[in-house]
Assembly symmetry: C2
Homo-oligomer: 215 residues x 2
């Protein structure tokens, strides 16, 4: 499958490399077509990896991952262009963490809305599915990094899109338990896990932990 | 031990009854000394149970539980009076859920502050410990309602107070795993679990579930 990764940071690189390993044709998009971090990633990942602008990557992808920093995701997605994303699944893994006011970071949107809802509102023709934003990027594509059973969440308005994402998470990335929380507004819940996640990273001295809902 | 329960709702009644069963002398406080819900609770719980105003309850308690609704907690605690709480442990189990804007409720404070921090700021002489606010009240005092291992969190500035609360949670209420998140500002993390908690209640068709941090 052709997949777009928007963003050249650790999250985009990690998900992109996993998708290449799974046999997908992955184009990494950024503000410029010749982004040096994307170039390094392409060189490291072989012929199924390519790079381009946000717009050419979005046009390439049948599925699009938003791996940009949450504070600039809306701007990046505007550069990607609704016409290049229309009717497609956009998997939003970003968190709108605002580091400008010191540590720990706060969220630039929360409580009465969420980044995922803002994206869905700005691009109504796109099937936005929020997922993976509650774990470190290495864990996103390799849940076995944390032993035992633990959960990953899904939020989105389109049931078919969520089913397709759940299959990628399970068969592609190895997640055993995927919890569908409901419509896109449920992304408030997972985005608002960030404050406790950041503190738990301190408690456990690193990012290799995850939530399990025991019931 | 003498313990105050501020608030006459389900949370206060449930915690109060458990504390009476454990042998403590529990006074339930409300706006008026003759609150009928508190009177019913006293009648149901025998001679170790009593009722009074927020102020007389706070004066009675060596430990004070804030079980008022989060939106009115600061007002209730002002009525309790700092002079009646000074130097004591205040266990804040409240969530500042605002139902006035429709369902699901939002939080009246979050992200850059928390209810627990606001209480600590308003009453600097009180040892505020945030805990139990991430589970249903029946689970608070009976963690075995959800089988298997799962966690309860602590936030607070006073290490000695947190140690004392952890002992009550473990030996009194039966919690096996108590995670100390750090200072009182870490209560932002647990208070901001409410949005996903409310959605998970829908997914699991009831409140008998809890978070476990797998690491």
């Amino acid at each position: 499958m052709k997949i777009a990764i928007l963003g050249t940071g650790m999250v985009g690189s990690t998900i992109g490399s996993k998708l290449v390993q799974l046999g997908h044709e992955v184009k990494m998009g950024s503000r410029t077509a010749d982004n040096p971090k994307a170039a390094d990633w392409v060189q490291a990942n072989g012929e199924k990896a390519s790079q381009g602008t946000f717009a050419t990557a979005a046009a390439h992808g049948e599925i699009i991952f938003n791996c940009t920093q949450g504070m600039v995701s809306l701007e990046a997605l505007k550069m990607a262009g609704e016409e290049n994303m229309k009717g497609k699944i956009l998997i939003d893994v970003a968190n709108a963490l605002d580091f400008s006011k010191g540590m720990p970071p706060t969220l630039s949107v929360c409580n009465t809305t969420s980044l995922a809802e803002q994206i869905q509102l700005a691009f109504p023709g796109v099937k936005v599915v929020k997922s993976l934003n509650t774990v470190n990027c290495n864990l996103m594509v390799n849940p076995k990094l944390v032993p035992g059973d633990h959960d990953i969440f899904l939020s989105g308005d389109d049931s078919g899109a969520k089913a397709q994402v759940a299959e990628l998470l399970k068969k592609g990335f190895g997640w055993k338990s995927v919890i569908d929380l409901g419509d896109i507004s449920t992304a408030r819940g997972t985005e608002m896990l960030m404050p406790i996640w950041l503190r738990l990273m301190g408690v456990f001295q690193g990012p290799n932990f995850n939530f399990k809902i025991v019931h």
